[in-house]
């Protein structure tokens, strides 16, 4: 087991080095953009994963926190000239506060009803953002003037964005990793698996759900700040969007909910798939999403645990037959 761990960590280390070296080899801006989008989605979906994958609270309103993050830092930047780096802190606070306000009542609901409530909250916030023109500029959205510089988190080239996104993703992986191996993670999973049983093991359910919400919403806000500085234009329709929320969720679900690397696997598969299908089927409008929908139905109903756990299980089973010490290797193999 220990030998395996080191094997695993060597592998991850190599991956990490590769990730840092990537911009030196990848000069094509389109690919660079896709890679940044993959990282961005992996991070965002990773933040959702903590709330939904670990603590089992299936939210379809995650774009709320993402959007709040984007709006908070952007408004501070545009209206008061506050650097987005500082804006991150405000975004975190804002998003976590709203997360708490939503979580407090919504955590009383279970299963699909929690999901419906998050949908409704998401809609309410979208309407408010569209309506409150004095603050948010309403549906006109906010255009961030392009003033490149480290302080404004705006750059002419893609590389700095790449590294910021990568840093963000690493942070989220690290936090997930830490949660995964700590008391908190065990408690999240216990709540997900069976609330009644969790309760009698001394787990304060609501408090731990709230922790997961706070961590999850905070991290989502982080990605929101990044997004705003990358796209330089935000509007309520785009950031408080239910379809966007379900896409975020989908990455984790396809990749494997409640695993550290599941969201990454999902993002690595789905983001390029989306891009490629869009250009491959441009002749017939709608065909790409039609196929997407069908694949979604099939994959989710046939592989409900997601790709990562399915592969891991397969490898585990085969590994066990060959030699027992290869157990768990599947996780490593699929992480790239």
């Amino acid at each position: 087991m220990r030998g395996l761990l080191s094997k695993k960590s060597i592998f991850l280390f190599i991956l990490l080095i590769a990730a840092f070296a990537l911009p030196n080899f990848l000069k094509n801006k389109f690919y660079m953009n896709i890679v940044i989008m993959v990282i961005f989605y992996a991070a965002l979906s990773g933040s959702w994963n903590i709330l939904a994958g670990y603590a089992g609270q299936l939210s379809l309103g995650h774009s709320i926190f993402f959007g709040l993050g984007a709006y908070t830092s952007t408004l501070l930047l545009v209206k008061m000239g506050v650097s987005p780096w500082l804006g991150i802190i405000a975004a975190l606070i804002m998003s976590m506060a709203v997360g708490a306000l939503i979580g407090y009542p919504a955590f009383r609901l279970k299963g699909p009803f929690f999901t419906l409530a998050t949908l409704a909250f998401s809609e309410v916030i979208r309407y408010i953002a569209s309506f409150w023109k004095e603050l948010t500029n309403g549906a006109m959205g906010i255009n961030i003037p392009f003033k490149p510089g480290l302080a404004t988190m705006m750059f002419r080239t893609k590389e700095p964005y790449y590294f910021i996104a990568l840093g963000m993703l690493l942070l989220i992986i690290l936090i997930t990793f830490f949660i995964d191996r700590s008391k908190m993670g065990s408690y999240f999973i216990a709540i997900r698996e069976n609330e009644d049983a969790a309760e009698v093991l001394g787990i304060p359910i609501t408090r731990y759900k709230m922790y997961s919400m706070l961590i999850s919403s905070g991290l989502a806000a982080l990605t929101g700040v990044f997004y705003a500085q990358y796209i330089l234009f935000i509007e309520p329709e785009a950031v408080f969007n239910i379809n966007f929320s379900s896409q975020i969720a989908l990455m984790s679900i396809i990749g494997g909910m409640g695993t550290i690397f599941g969201p990454i696997v999902g993002a690595v598969l789905l983001v390029p798939l989306n891009e490629i299908m869009r250009s491959a089927f441009s002749s017939l409008n709608g065909l790409n999403f039609f196929i997407y929908g069908i694949v979604l139905i099939i994959v989710v109903s046939w592989m409900p645990n997601g790709i990562l756990p399915t592969i891991t299980n397969q490898v585990k089973k085969r590994g066990l037959k060959v030699s027992t010490d290869r157990k768990g290797a599947g996780k490593i193999d699929t992480a790239n």
């Binding site: 660079m32 006109m140 392009f146 891009e275 409008n285 994959v299 592989m303 790709i307």
Partner: protein
């Protein structure tokens, strides 16, 4: 069974990735909008970012057709700069996120130096941002949001009029025409604004309100609503209370239809009703309403019942459209894109290549008199890349057609005001 299925699903995913990989390889040749361009000589490739899927797909497609026809026509006539053919590379962008990623793809993947677009202002904002950062020309043909050209970008140009130009046209029309027709003083007119609350409606309505205030007009109410509402009776009841002489609406199609139908149902009569492009401009609007549409005014891009001597080439365009797509143009979006695309093609012709710096320099000195284009607009870009001579025309629905009634040089008919009451419209 469960295990078998999950393995199957896995295989499916892998296959799909593989397949789409192949698909993307083939996409470059397939994505060219005009196959006719492949006839020898050098081909200049231009990216075209429009929403072809999602909620904005209808007008996105209509807009693209204008650009596509301009290219087709030019290629038929021998291309630009001594026989170079133009090819459009379609990039479907249902949302801003996709637009920016597609712009990136076009620039770095297909090495495109010039992008056109986009019908939707949100897409335009996102895509033009990418273009500017990469030193690629972004040529806007139809999105009307002012900020697109307010940012002072070096490589972003727009041939069509902006929201503020729309608003100016509408206020201009009210000033010039309405007082005489209704026999009231300009400042006595009660004006009501009603608009959908997304980017488009809010922007246009915002400028209308601003200019109306500058002209000391009396705006009695301003109603915003969500374009997806199934019921607008509350909006109409609020309007009814205000008893306006003029209603200016900024709507998309579904809400424009609903607004009219429910106005009729609820017996809300108003002497002057002006739409601001969007839904009020579309043939589907008239199809859905029939005679009820008669008399409704609309400020928008040029329509097809217009003084043809002021818009040379328009007939040729309509015929080409009819021949290519089998129907009449569905709205003025296509001709607007057609006109702007022609301007761009003229500039490319001058420059001889797609070199962004040369094109932007040539564009800045490009001039065209009013009354010399398919839309009647002149062309002269201000220092921020906006065409100063763009203008919205006011048209009136008359027996299924949008007949141009203002300004005089483009008009083919006097505006018929005040509007008939619902019960009298036939």
């Amino acid at each position: 069974m469960r295990k078998v299925k999950s393995v199957l699903a896995l295989v499916l995913v892998i296959m799909l990735v593989f397949l789409s990989g192949c698909g993307s390889g083939g996409s470059q040749s397939a994505s060219g909008g005009s196959q006719s361009a492949s006839g020898g000589g050098e081909t200049l490739k231009i990216g075209a970012i429009y929403p072809f899927t999602g909620g904005a797909a209808l007008l996105g497609d209509e807009s693209f057709r204008g650009a596509e026809l301009a290219v087709k026509l030019r290629n038929q006539k021998g291309g630009v700069a001594g026989g170079k053919k133009i090819e459009l590379s379609k990039a479907d962008s249902p949302d801003a996120n996709a637009a920016q990623s597609q712009a990136n793809r076009l620039i770095s993947q297909e090495n495109i130096q010039l992008i056109i677009g986009s019908y939707s202002s949100a897409l335009s904002m996102a895509a033009s941002e990418v273009a500017e950062r990469n030193g690629v020309v972004y040529w806007e043909l139809g999105a009307i949001s002012d900020p697109i050209t307010d940012r002072g970008y070096k490589y972003v140009f727009r041939t069509n009029p902006t929201s503020s130009q729309f608003a100016q046209s509408e206020i201009g029309f009210i000033k010039e025409v309405v007082p005489a027709k209704l026999g009231k003083n300009l400042t006595d007119l009660k004006i009501a604004l009603v608009h959908e609350d997304s980017l488009y409606g809010t922007t246009v309505a915002g400028f209308i309100e601003k200019y109306a205030k500058e002209e000391k007009l009396n705006v009695v109410t301003n109603q915003a609503y969500n374009m997806n509402s199934v019921d607008l009776s509350s909006v109409i009841l609020n309007l009814k209370k205000a008893q306006p002489d003029v209603v200016i609406a900024v709507s998309y199609l579904n809400d424009a239809i609903l607004l009219t139908r429910q106005s009729k149902e609820l017996g809300f009569d108003v002497p002057v009703f002006i739409g601001s492009g969007g839904g009020h401009t579309m043939t589907d609007f008239q199809k859905a309403l029939g005679a009820d549409a008669n008399g409704i005014l609309n400020a928008d891009f040029p329509q097809y019942e217009i003084n043809k001597s002021f818009t040379p080439g328009l007939d040729e365009f309509v015929k080409l459209y009819q021949d290519t797509y089998g129907t009449a143009p569905r709205s003025g979006h296509s001709v607007t894109n057609f006109m702007g695309m022609n301007v761009l093609l003229n500039i490319i012709d001058q420059v001889g290549s797609l070199d962004p710096d040369k094109i932007q320099a040539a564009a800045r000195s490009y001039k065209l008199e009013p009354g010399k284009s398919e839309t009647g607009w002149g062309v002269e870009f201000n220092d921020k890349g906006q065409n100063k001579l763009g203008k919205a025309y006011v048209t009136q629905w008359t027996d299924g057609k949008l007949v141009t009634v203002w300004p005089k040089e483009a008009a083919v008919q006097e505006p018929k005001l005040p509007l008939l009451k619902w019960s009298e419209r036939k």
